[in-house]
Symmetry: C2
Subunit: 620 residues, 2 copies
C-alpha cells in the first residue's frame, strides 16, 4: 500500500526535504520532452527500472489500476527515450552523447541495461504486456551486436555486474539463447589479461590512477571468475556477479563455474558475513575486507548487498539443493534486508551496522557512513527500490519446484497460497503460520485430484528437534532428510495436511573465535530472527550490559508493540556508573548491578527514534 | 648517541628509502644559496628548529663538538635566510613571497616562529652563544610590530598554537616583557568574533568551505579560550595552546585563564585520554572527539600530542603544585611518548594505537593511519624531532623548584644529578634508582653546607603503601603530605639520604564504565608502566585471550630482553580455534584452553617485527 506509491513520489522529486532523484525527469529530457541538464548519478535509470520491476511483482499478485497506469506511462516514456538502434541510457543520451560504451569500468551502462531487462521480464510476466519487453530486447540485441568474441566486437564487461543475471532472466522469458550466451560471455571475459578496463582507459586517454586502493578487485575483475577464491571488492557487485555465475552454471552445466560459486559461497558465509546476513564490512569501497574482519560499529552492511546475498542464495539452491543456502537466504531476509526499511515503509537504511552509538556517529569521521535514523531517500538511491522489488517478489523465494523431479521445495515459511503445475494437474499449497513468531507451520496440499509428487520441506539450520506430522501422524523423517530437506514423496490427496513443528527456544549464538569484534560476546536469536538491544528499552551505554551465562531469557509476544513482535526479556548485569570511584582509570573494578534487559528483533530497531543499538552482548 | 645524528641525516635527505625532508635544502634556497623549488610542508622549518632545540638540551649536558659544529653551521644558514625586517620562514620566502601573514589559519608561520624561539632559547642556555637568540628576537620584534591591539596592527593569531608558549620562553630568557604581553595577546584574541580567520579568508578572496568538518574548533578558536570547557579539534594544537595558557596564567596571575586550564585538564584527563597518556582518538583532523570515545584500534594518539600533554602537565604543576599533574606527565612519558620511538632511536610511530591487527590495518581504510611498524621518517615529520627534544630535555621535568618557597619538588624518579641554588648555597641532589623496574629511589642531598629548605617528594598516584626513610629512619609522612607531595622541611646536611620505597605490585586497571571500548577489559600496569600483549609472545588473535580475575600475574626482570625490561607473566585462557565446530556462527559456546600469557611494557612493543598488539585484555 505504501512503499511503491511513496517511491513514485521520490522518483518524481515530490518528496519534501528528501534528496532529489531526478530519475523520471532525466527520461523526459532524454526523450526530448523536457529541457534541462542531467541530474543524479550515471546509473539513475536503474531506480526507475527497479521500481517498475517491483510494480510488476505486485501486479502479479493483485490488481492495482493506479500503479499499473503509472507504470504504463513510464514505460511509454522509457520507450520514447530509446535510441533507434536500441541504445537506452539517459546519462549518455543527455550528458555524454557519442561516448557510449567507452567507460564500462565506471559508468554502469550495462548495469542499467540489466535492470531494464529485469523490469521488463517482471512486468511482462505479471501483465502480459510486451511493450517494455520489446524495449529490453531491442537494447539487448544492440548490446549483443556490440559485445562478444566475434571480430570487431568489444571484449568488455561492466564494472558493476548486473546485466549477467538479467540476461539470464531475459533468456528465460524469451527463450532467446543469444542472451544466455552473452551472459556467459561477460562472465568468461571478466578479469582476463590484458585487462579490458586498462585497455579502455588507455583508449580514452585516461591516465589517472584508479580512485580506489583495491584496483580491479573492486569490480571482481582482478582475476578470471573461475580463479577467484575469496569475495573481494564492492559487496553489491560481488553478490550480483556470483548470482549470475550460479545461474549460468546451473543452466549450462559448467562445472568450473559451479565450483567457483561454491568456493566463494564458503568464503562469504563462513568468513565474511555478519550474523544478520549482511556483507561488506568496510565503508571504503562499500567492500569486503579480510576473513573474520567484522566490526559491528563500522559495518557497511549495505542493504543492497544483503539483498544480493538473497539473490545468490536462491540461485545456489537451483545449482545444488542444500538447505544451507536457504538458511542464509532466510537469515538475510529476516534480518539484514528488513532492517533497511522502516515499519511504515517510508524510511530506509543504506548502511546496517550491528552496534550504534549515535553521539560517536555524529563526530567520528570513520562512522560518518552510519546514519542514526532511516532516511527518506538518498542521492544514490539503490537500496529503497531494491527493497521494494525484493519484498514484492517474496513469493518467488518461498518455493522452488522441479518438473523433472516432480518435487516442490518449501524453503520459507510464511502465510501463502501457491499454485504449481508439476504433473498436469494444478496443485495448490497453502501455508498457514505465525512464523517467525511461532514455529508451527501448516501446509495444506490440494492437488486438483490425487497425484504423486514430492514435497520437500526444509528443516532450518537454526532448529533442533523439528517434528513433522502428516495428516495427524508423526513422521520419523530422518530417513527422508537429505541436505536439510525432508522429501515427502507420496500420493497427495486434496486436503492433506503437513504440520511442521519447529521448536523456537531462545538461542545464544557465538561467533567463530577469530571474529575479534565478537570475542566474549553473544547474540540472541530465536527462530530466524537475530535480536538486538535498543537504548530506549535498556538505557544508554549498551556495551556496559552483561548477560550472565545462566540467565534464562524469556520470549514474549507483544501484539501492540512495533507492529506485533516477540521480545526477549531477562535479567542481566550492567556496569554501575554511579558507583564508579576515581577518574578515567582505576585499580578498583567497576561494580555491576542487576538490570532487566529487553531485546527486540534486529529488523525493527530504530522505529522509535534514534538511540544506541547493540547486537553482540557481552557474556559473563 | 644515535637519535640526533640520525635525524641530521634525515633533515639533509641522506636517509635511503625514507620520505625526503627537504628541510635543510629549503633554508639554502631561502638564503639564496641554492636553486630549486620549495619542498615539503609549509611548516617544514619547524623540524630543523626542533632538532636544534634538542641539540641545545644535549649540549647542556655534555660536550659534543661534532653536533655543535653542525648546529652552528645550520644557525648561520638560518640567519642568512632571515629577511632584513626579521621575517624568517622559508615557505613564504621561497614559494609565496609577498604573502606573509595572509593565511594564519592554515600556514603555520607563527607556529614555525615559535619553534625558532624555543630552539634559540635552548641553544643559548646551553652554549651561551647568542646568534640564534638574536635571530629569534629580531623575528619576534617583527611579529610584535605586526600583531597586537594597537591600531594598524593585525588582530590575528596562528591556526596552530605554539608561538604562545615559545614567547613565554623567550620572555624568560631575555626578560623582555613585550614577548609575554604578545603571548597573552594571542591567547586573549583567539576565538573572538568577528572571527579573524573568516575576515582573513575574506581578505584573501578565499570562499572555499573550510576543509574539515570541525570548523574553528579544529584550531581551538571556536570560542574565546576562557569559554572553552572541552578539548576540541586537533590534539597537538590543543596541548600547545593549553600549555601556553598555563604559562601565562602562572606568570600573570590571571585567574580566569588558570580556571580555563583546570577545566580543560579535567576534561582531557578524566574523559579523553588513553591509559598510555595519549590523546586524540580520531585520525580525521588528528583530533579529539567526544567524552569516553577511546577506541583502541582506531586511536590516533599522535606522539606529538602526548608530548604536548607532557608540556602542559609540567606547566600545570607550576600553576598548582598537585601530583595529579605529575602523574599524568609520568604516564605520558613512560607510555604514549616512548612508544613513538624504537629502542635503537631510528624508527618512529606517528600514531600509537592500543590494539593492532596488522592484516586489518593493511586492508581497512579506517585503519590506514595506523602503521604496523615504526617508520624511518615522515613527509610530515613533526614527531621524530619532537621526541628528540623532549627526551633530551628530560632533566627539566624531574624537578621543579621555588626560590621563594625554598622548595625543591621531585616529580620524576630517574638516575640523575641536579644542582640548585635556592639559598645562596649550591645544593646537589643525586637520585639513584632502577625505576621504573624497581620502586626504590634514593635521594642523596648535598648542600655545599648545611642549609634549611624543603624537599617535596611526589608520591605517585599509582602507588599505595609508599614508605619514606630519612637517614635510615622511617618517616610517617601523612602529616607532611599535601596534594601528592611529601614536604620534608629540615636542615639538610651533606650526605643526607632520603629513601623512597614505592611498592610495585602488578595492578589491574579498569576504565570508566562509559569507555565502551574497554567494557569487560583490564589493562596491566606496574609502577608507571602500562603493559601490552604482543603476538610474538602470545600467538595471533590476541582478543581471544582472557585473563581470569583470580590469575596471579608475576613480574620478572629480563636483563637481556628488549634492552632489559620487566615482563609480566601469568596463566590465562584463550578461545580454542581448533575445537570450534560449525561455521561462522554457532549455538555452541567456544571452548577455552589454558595458556601462558606474557605482557611487555607498551613502550617497547614492535621492536621485534610487526604483529598484533593489545593493551586492554578481556577479563573473565
Amino acid at each position: 500500500n505504501n512503499v511503491l506509491p511513496y517511491q513514485w513520489l521520490a522518483l518524481n522529486d515530490l518528496l519534501p526535504d528528501a534528496e532529489p532523484s531526478h530519475a523520471i525527469m532525466i527520461f523526459k529530457i532524454a526523450a526530448g520532452e523536457a529541457g534541462g541538464q542531467f541530474g543524479g548519478y550515471c546509473f539513475q535509470d536503474s531506480d526507475v527500472f527497479k521500481w517498475l520491476e517491483a510494480v510488476g511483482y505486485l501486479l502479479a499478485q493483485e490488481a492495482d489500476p493506479d500503479l499499473a497506469e503509472k507504470a504504463d506511462q513510464v514505460i511509454e516514456l522509457i520507450a520514447r527515450a530509446q535510441q533507434p538502434d536500441g541504445y537506452l541510457n539517459t546519462y549518455f543520451t543527455v550528458a555524454e552523447p557519442g561516448r557510449h560504451f567507452t567507460n564500462l569500468r565506471d559508468c554502469h551502462e550495462l548495469y542499467c541495461a540489466g535492470h531494464l531487462f529485469e523490469a521488463a521480464v517482471a512486468y511482462y510476466e505479471a501483465t502480459g504486456k510486451t511493450k517494455l519487453l520489446e524495449v529490453a530486447c531491442h537494447y539487448a540485441d544492440h548490446i549483443d551486436r556490440t559485445f562478444g568474441p566475434d571480430p570487431g566486437k568489444k571484449k568488455g564487461y561492466d564494472g558493476h555486474p548486473e546485466i549477467e543475471l538479467a540476461l539470464v532472466k531475459l533468456y528465460r522469458a524469451t527463450g532467446e539463447e543469444r542472451y544466455l550466451r552473452l551472459s556467459k560471455y561477460f562472465i568468461d571475459e571478466r578479469g582476463r589479461q590484458p585487462h579490458y578496463f586498462d585497455l579502455e582507459a588507455e583508449e580514452r586517454g585516461d591516465t589517472r590512477p584508479y580512485w580506489n586502493i583495491f584496483g580491479h578487485s573492486y569490480s571482481q575483475s582482478h582475476l578470471p571468475v573461475r580463479e577467484q577464491k575469496t569475495a573481494e571488492g564492492h559487496a553489491v557487485r560481488a553478490m550480483y556477479l556470483y548470482s549470475a555465475v550460479a545461474d549460468v552454471a546451473a543452466l549450462t552445466g559448467d562445472e568450473s563455474l559451479a565450483e567457483a560459486c561454491k568456493v566463494l559461497w564458503e568464503n562469504v558465509t563462513n568468513r565474511r558475513m555478519y550474523i544478520t546476513g549482511a556483507v561488506g564490512s568496510s565503508a571504503y569501497g562499500e567492500s569486503f575486507t579480510i576473513d573474520y574482519d567484522l566490526p559491528n560499529d563500522r559495518a557497511y552492511a549495505e542493504t543492497c548487498a544483503t539483498i544480493g546475498l538473497v539473490f545468490w542464495a536462491h540461485r545456489m539452491l537451483h545449482l545444488e539443493m542444500d538447505a544451507k543456502y536457504a538458511d542464509v537466504m532466510e537469515r538475510a531476509l529476516y534480518n539484514g534486508v528488513l532492517s533497511g526499511i522502516s515499519l511504515d515503509g517510508e524510511r530506509f537504511f543504506y548502511v546496517n551496522p550491528l552496534a550504534v552509538w549515535p553521539e560517536a556517529c555524529a563526530r567520528r569521521h570513520d562512522l560518518q557512513h552510519v546514519k542514526v535514523t532511516r532516511q527518506k531517500w538518498f542521492a544514490c538511491a539503490c537500496c529503497p527500490p531494491n527493497l521494494a522489488r525484493l519484498i514484492a517478489s517474496l513469493g518467488k523465494y518461498i518455493y522452488s519446484y522441479s518438473e523433472e523431479e516432480k518435487t516442490v521445495y518449501a524453503h520459507l515459511f510464511t502465510g501463502s497460497t501457491a499454485r504449481f503445475d508439476l504433473t498436469g494437474e494444478e496443485i495448490t499449497i497453502t501455508q498457514k503460520s505465525a512464523y517467525p513468531w511461532e514455529g508451527e507451520v501448516e501446509f495444506e496440499v490440494n492437488p486438483a485430484k490425487e497425484t504423486e509428487f514430492t514435497l520437500a520441506v526444509r528443516i532450518p539450520g537454526w532448529c533442533r528437534g523439528a517434528e513433522l506430522v502428516v495428516n495427524g501422524s508423526p513422521v520419523s523423517f530422518a530417513p527422508f532428510l537429505r541436505r536439510g530437506y525432508v522429501y515427502l514423496k507420496r500420493e497427495w490427496h486434496p486436503g492433506d495436511r503437513v504440520l511442521l513443528r519447529l521448536p523456537m527456544p531462545v538461542e545464544r549464538v557465538y561467533a567463530h573465535p577469530r571474529v575479534r569484534a565478537n570475542a566474549g560476546r553473544v547474540a540472541l536469536q530465536r527462530g530466524p530472527l537475530v535480536y538486538c538491544l535498543e537504548e530506549i528499552d535498556n538505557g544508554p551505554n549498551l556495551p556496559g550490559i552483561l548477560l550472565p551465562v545462566e540467565a534464562e531469557v524469556e520470549a514474549r509476544y507483544l501484539p501492540d508493540f512495533l507492529g506485533g513482535v516477540v521480545v526477549l526479556e531477562t535479567e542481566g548485569l550492567r556496569l554501575e556508573e554511579e558507583a564508579w570511584e576515581g577518574g578515567l582509570y582505576s585499580p578498583v573494578k567497576p561494580k555491576t548491578r542487576r538490570v532487566k534487559i529487553r531485546a527486540i528483533p534486529y529488523f525493527v530497531w530504530n522505529n522509535r527514534g534514534p538511540g544506541e543499538m547493540l547486537v553482540w552482548i557481552r557474556e559473563a
